[in-house]
Amino acid sequence: MRYYSYFPGCSAEATASPLGLSVPPVAKELDMDLIELEDWNCCGSSPYGSVDKLEATCMAARNLALAEKRGFDLVTPCSSCYITLDGADSHLKEYPALRDQVNQALAAGNLDYHGGVRVRHLAEVLYSDVTPDVIGAKVSKSLKGLKVASYYGCQLVRPAVGFDDPESPRSLDELVASLGADVVSWQLKARCCGGSLVMSEQDLALELINKLLRNAQENGAQCLVTPCPLCQINLDAYQSQVNSKFKTNYNLPVLFLTQLIGVALGIKPNALGLQRNIVSPMKVLAPYL
């Protein structure tokens, strides 16, 4: 059994609820004990960091300080939470003045930050700690014949985090391959979907989403898989918007990484929240359920 502190992030409770649902059963099957960080708060995500740096850093630091109490690696399934928490942690280590201010503020909440926790992305933990080999050995329903395009998005691999290549990552492909699925090779697998700009600059975001869906489809994908809540919502919930704007007819299910792993591990569709995907994955997954 491996032990981690778990930071679901706000989206996993709401718009990305299939992610929130699918992580615990998959973790259990893979002998991971994800202990939810008690009373965690918003990570201090990039919008926050664009409004007030010190406050945003304090938001992140409260979580880091809470996690320090337990000492395990702090694991989040959300790419945005991941770079926000990790970025705040490295800034706190690099800039002592910032750290002093943040610690003064934290003191008001009876907390302090020492920098003793490692922030990690769930996908990285699955890849580096659990490893594709072990996951492959636990597969009960091989996804043989399913053509999957792994979509990394941006913040899982950039700015350079070291565990995978920022331009041509392969960790998700290896994880997908370990499930028996056919890995689709496509050029835009680590390109931007527009992120939160989908709310403020929808036209722009839809253009980016269209490019991604087209490239995945042209390379033969039956579905996409991504670990990131923001990416999933953009590609899944906005797919119909793209279809009406660009006169396309995509019908590409976009699964969370943990959902796809869950299917291969034989976990029930309900437990993985598969019904909650907007573009229904039931048809392409039917042979494997």
Binding site: D165, E167, S168, Q187, L188, K211, N215
Partner: protein
């Protein structure tokens, strides 16, 4: 003597005086003990400054001088000379560095002034204790070593040689010429690179004062300026440089093609090659990378790559000859070998292993088809007769090797015909007798006598008949029993007996239903034979799962196709009889348990799962054993019932008697038997010649290290054609073999792992007799006075820049690849071609790839702007109407006529876009981008992102230090700068010298530069070397270590530490001594000496302590 010290403080213009209060320092110095005079002056190093010191020495009788100014690196020599000219020993001078250590490193005036005072005080105290030292002169060896044969090395070598001094020019490639020989035109004049370079290359080749050592590397350097020694490794070229005429006949016949490095893999070359037609020396070289994996994997060491290479050329007869160098059984092994070679085949890592066995069979079939010439008997050169007992593969392989050594060999065979299990154990439909007969005839034609129907029971008899050595290869010819009830019932047959009878033509009565027990090749052979004899229901009963059946999988598949049933996971329990007549067999089902010693899962019976099969015959094929009854009594056996022999020599406990093959190993495959026969032949030959049997055995084989699979396109191997099922009534051969076309195609899939296949075709073709396949590398030592290093650069490999797509996207090429492509003598004969063979209509050239980038090289590579513009010109010249885009960050056209060249290119119509492209993609976003490479970049002068679709992209890659620059730097004790290039002594004033006297760096190994700069540096370094040669002698440092013999305890710590080998040990006096000409005064020995016997002259403890005290004042 009374100390009279003069102190001189230099302003260095404002360099020092701008920060340091020089007057205050002077005043301070004036008050120091023993200081007679302290002065400051604007430029102490100038003539009037020096004159000041001279005058004071003369007029004030100074006997110690301190100058506080710049770094000693800069002017220590100047002031020492001033002292010397004024009659003062130069070692009575000390320098304080108040520029680099004070004024340049702080903005704080008073701190700088305080530090300057401290340093002056230290120097004054130190100089008090300094003593006069005498420098020595050593003669300079007039020979010079030039390392690297590019344009810089060539130029330097010619300059020195033209002055009639000897030059050794060492080049590690087979030809000199370097990168310049790969270039097409040179900027800005656009003259042809080869045209201006090759005359110089041939001058080097013929120059009486140049000894050209190509294909060689410097491996060790010792000595010191004026008196170096260098060891040079001459790599085995396998071609005699003096005999080779460069005619090229060898390359014409060489069957092996590999990518040509000179053309960066865009073209092919042979295994015997010269890099390009104008090579100097105009001599070929053989590229041997070691034994290919197939050859290493073969127990008998058959050179498969050799015959495959020749098959690929249609040289089928020559191909068989290669196999016959090792063993005589092409047709046999081509059919029944277990081919361990194919498991190791590197091609298997790309798609599928080469069908090595089938190719072997093909060449044997071909020979049989066209008719084999009778083999010429081998002349008997040895007297000692050898007897071989048993004519199976081991016996015949041994006979074959020994007859070729000239021994008279006789083979004794108990059976009516020779061949052993090849004849009696393998059915005709798998190995036709005529194939075996042909190969045995060949052995006989060589002179081997085979006596059939001649069992040997007594070894004494053989020795008594005059045989000097015996090889026992009688095989393992009896079947093992099952150990179940009623297995002797009538109707139960043993596989070997069965197969032997069938092959002898003896009628075997079989019923309709036959069960075969076992899963080896003998079981499958027996089952298929039974089927052919008319049994209608044939079943193979095997106790493990299908995946574990030991018989060849193709054989099992064919058996099933023919209608044989497989009962896996079942084992016989008892033979069922009725009236002592076979009625059936009872079996039990098995399941797989834990893995056993062999790693396979152990079959375990499932209790109560017994079932009966009614059959008319049972054939047992569960193993074979050695028949002791057939062997002489006096031999020793192992616990397994096989003969006991020495593992290496195969000698039995009786001297002169050797044994191998199945009789020793137990039942094994044909190739293992052949290998044993060959080992025995080596032992017998040694035994008869009275040579040690074991020495050097087993031999170590140099396996090729890495096999490049770059650019290999996947291609499946051809299926083996087989006889139609309906035609398989009798014993006609089932596998039909490849035809010529298929064989050639298949042979071409070989990756030529070892490069040279050792087919020896070149040796046959060379009229000059220049090729020596046995050549070995050698090391020579030369003595020289100066060394010029001109090892050049490597081109940056852009593969790590994923976003530029090199290696991933077609038609993204590097600058050097483009040079070869545009070169009339290059792989495309000067045509600019896309992958599909068409010409590009638009080309993008990206500057600064790998340069000006913190992730790769921060420096500017200096030549890319210019060569990129040259490319723009050449593309438009070669492809009329082509559009060229140059993507640049800054244009650096800073040489003579460079700006004019830029203007010319602009006027020609090349489009310049200022911006470093972000990526090259093949993801089209509009119809005009379809099937193009799209360069995405900001046009920074417009301030907009642009997408430019092009057909070809040329990456103007950086020049970078050689990958082995660190080893070379260490070899020659020179430094490297932060960018990795070799470090010059001074970037402005001494750009070709290094910190190691007598060693110079020129050309691109010192920094990226163009041809004119490289040539100028080469001439400069040559002049520096010639200056030393013409002076005839040089001074060496007087500040050396000195050992007090009285105090030395002879512990030799210093001896081991000295990096210059300057310390020797006097065995008589038991003390260490310093060779003052070798000593560099580095002080390592002084610091290490435990007894304080070792002193550094000019760095005595007294002097250093005084200096420290001075600083602390």
């Amino acid at each position: 003597m009374e100390r009279r010290i003069g102190v001189y403080i230099c302003h260095c213009g404002t360099n020092i005086a701008g920060i340091v209060d020089v007057e205050a320092v002077t005043e301070f110095a004036q008050k120091l003990p023993f200081v007679v005079i302290a002065r400051d002056y604007k430029y102490m190093c100038s003539d009037p400054g020096q004159e000041l010191i001279r005058q004071d020495i003369k007029e004030l009788g100074l006997n110690r001088i301190v100058v506080a100014s710049c770094s000693p690196l800069m002017h220590e020599r100047t002031y020492r000379r001033v002292c010397q000219e004024s009659g003062l020993n130069p070692y009575l001078f000390e320098m304080a560095n108040i520029r680099e250590h004070c004024s340049w490193v702080t903005e704080d005036h008073s701190a700088a002034t305080d530090k300057a005072k401290a340093l002056v005080s230290a120097a004054v105290r130190r100089v008090f204790y300094q003593e006069p030292l005498e420098t020595k002169e050593v003669p300079v060896n007039p020979n010079t070593l030039v390392v690297g044969g590019g344009i810089a090395g060539i130029q330097a070598a010619l300059e020195i040689a033209d002055s009639r001094h000897k030059v050794y020019l060492v080049e590690r490639e087979p030809s000199i010429g370097g990168h310049m020989s790969q270039l097409d035109k040179t900027f800005p004049t656009l003259d042809c690179s080869a045209c201006i370079l090759t005359p110089k290359m041939s001058l080097v080749g013929s120059h009486p004062y140049i000894e050209l050592m190509s294909y060689s590397e410097v491996v060790e350097v010792s000595g010191y300026v004026g008196n170096f020694k260098a060891k040079i490794k001459k790599k085995a070229r396998y071609v005699d440089v003096d005999k080779c005429t460069g005619c090229g006949e060898c390359a014409n016949v060489c069957p092996v093609e590999v990518p040509n490095e000179f053309d960066l893999g865009l073209g092919q070359r042979k295994a015997i090659y010269r890099p390009f037609p104008q090579a100097v020396p105009n001599v070929f070289a053989v590229d041997k990378q070691g034994y290919p994996p197939c050859r290493v994997a073969c127990p008998a060491g058959v050179n498969a790559q050799g015959y495959i290479a020749l098959i690929s050329q249609g040289k089928f007869k020559e191909a068989v000859e290669i196999l016959r160098r090792t063993m005589p059984f092409a047709g046999v092994c081509g059919r029944v070998c277990t081919h361990p070679c194919e498991s190791e085949c590197e091609r298997g890592k790309v798609d599928e292993s080469v069908s090595i066995r089938s190719l072997k069979r093909f060449m044997a079939d071909y020979e049989l088809k066209v008719g084999r010439e009778k083999a010429a008997p081998i002349e008997r050169t040895k007297e000692d007769k050898v007897a071989i007992i048993g004519s199976g593969p081991a016996g015949l392989a041994c006979a074959y090797d020994l007859i070729k050594e000239g021994y008279p060999v006789s083979v004794f065979e108990a059976a009516p015909q020779s061949g052993g299990l090849l004849r009696y154990g393998i059915p005709e439909y798998r190995l036709p007798k005529k194939v075996l007969d042909n190969e045995i005839s060949y052995i006989k034609e060589l002179g081997v006598k085979i006596k059939t129907n001649t069992p040997v029971k007594n070894l004494e008899d053989i020795f008594n008949k005059g045989y000097e050595a015996i090889f026992l290869a009688t095989g393992a010819g009896i079947s093992q029993k099952m150990g179940i009830p009623h297995e002797d019932a009538k109707g139960v047959i043993h596989a070997l007996d069965f197969l032997k009878q069938v092959s002898l033509g003896i009628k075997v009565d079989l019923g309709e239903r036959v069960a075969v027990i076992g899963g080896g090749n003998a079981a499958v052979d027996a089952a298929r034979t039974a089927h052919r004899l008319g049994a209608r229901e044939v079943s193979i009963i095997y106790r493990r799962s299908r995946a574990e059946i030991p018989a060849a999988s193709t054989e099992v598949d064919e058996a099933e196709r023919e209608g044989v049933n497989l009962h896996i996971l079942a084992a016989p329990v008892r033979v069922l009889t009725k009236d002592n007549q076979l009625a059936g067999i009872q079996c039990i089902r098995m399941e797989l348990g834990e893995p056993d010693a062999s790693g396979r899962r152990r079959p375990v019976p499932i209790e109560g799962s017994e079932f009966d099969m009614s059959v008319d015959n049972v054939i047992i094929a569960i193993g074979q054993a050695v028949d002791k009854a057939m062997l002489p009594k006096e031999l020793e056996y192992t616990g397994w019932g096989t003969l006991a022999v020495d593992q290496v020599t195969l000698q039995t406990d009786i001297e002169g008697v050797f044994a191998g093959g199945d009789v020793v190993s137990g039942p094994a495959d044909v190739i293992a038997g052949i290998a044993a026969g060959k080992e025995a032949a080596i032992s017998i030959d040694r035994y008869l010649r009275g040579v040690d049997l074991k020495e050097g055995r087993p031999t170590t084989i140099k396996r090729v290290k890495e096999v490049s699979k770059e650019g290999v396109e996947t291609k499946a191997k051809p299926a083996m054609p087989t006889l139609d099922l309906e035609k398989r009534e009798g014993f006609t051969e089932v596998e039909l073999g490849f035809d010529e076309k298929v064989a050639i195609e298949e042979a071409k899939r070989c990756l030529n792992c070892g490069v040279c296949s050792e087919c020896m075709e070149c040796v046959k073709a060379c009229q000059a007799g220049a090729i020596n396949q046995e050549m070995e590398e050698e090391t020579v030592e030369v003595e020289i006075g100066n060394i010029l290093i001109a090892t050049g650069y490597d081109a940056f490999d852009p593969s790590p820049l994923y976003h530029y797509g090199y290696g991933r996207l077609d038609n993204v090429i590097t600058a050097l690849e483009f040079e070869r492509m545009i070169n009339a003598s290059g792989p495309t004969e000067g045509e600019v071609l896309l992958k599909d063979g068409s010409s590009p209509k638009t080309v993008g050239i990206i500057h600064c790839v790998g340069s000006r980038d913190k992730k790769y090289h921060e420096y500017c590579s200096q030549v890319c702007c210019m060569y990129s513009m040259k490319f723009g010109h050449l593309i438009r010249e070669h492809v009329p109407g082509a559009q060229v885009y140059e993507f640049y960050i800054d244009l650096r056209c800073v040489g003579k006529a460079f700006e004019e060249f830029y203007n010319r290119i602009l006027e020609e119509g090349t489009i310049f876009i200022r911006g470093r492209p972000a990526e090259i993609t093949d993801v089209a976003e509009s119809p005009e981008e379809q099937d193009k490479l799209i360069i995405v970049s900001e046009d920074t002068l417009i301030g907009r992102q642009r997408r430019i679709p092009v057909d070809m992209v040329v990456l103007s890659t950086a020049l970078q230090p050689r990958s082995d620059a660190e080893e070379v730097a260490r070899l020659f004790s020179i430094g490297r700068s932060a960018d990795g290039f070799f470090l010059e002594k001074h970037p402005k004033l001494d750009p070709v010298a290094t910190m190691s006297d007598g060693i110079f760096v020129v050309g691109c190994c010192q920094s990226a530069k163009d041809i004119p700069q490289s040539v100028a540096q080469a001439s400069a370094a040559a002049a520096r070397a010639l200056a030393m040669i013409s002076a005839g002698s040089i001074e060496v440092e007087a500040a050396t270590a000195a050992i007090d013999e009285e105090l030395c305890s002879g512990c030799k710590i210093c001896y081991d530490l000295c990096p210059f080998h300057a310390i020797s040990f006097d065995e008589e006096k038991r003390v260490c001594q310093v060779n003052e000409t070798l000593c560099k005064g580095c002080g390592v020995c002084v610091a290490a000496c435990p007894s304080g016997a070792n002193t550094g002259r000019h760095f005595t403890t007294e002097q250093l302590m005084a200096e420290i005290e001075g600083v602390l004042v």
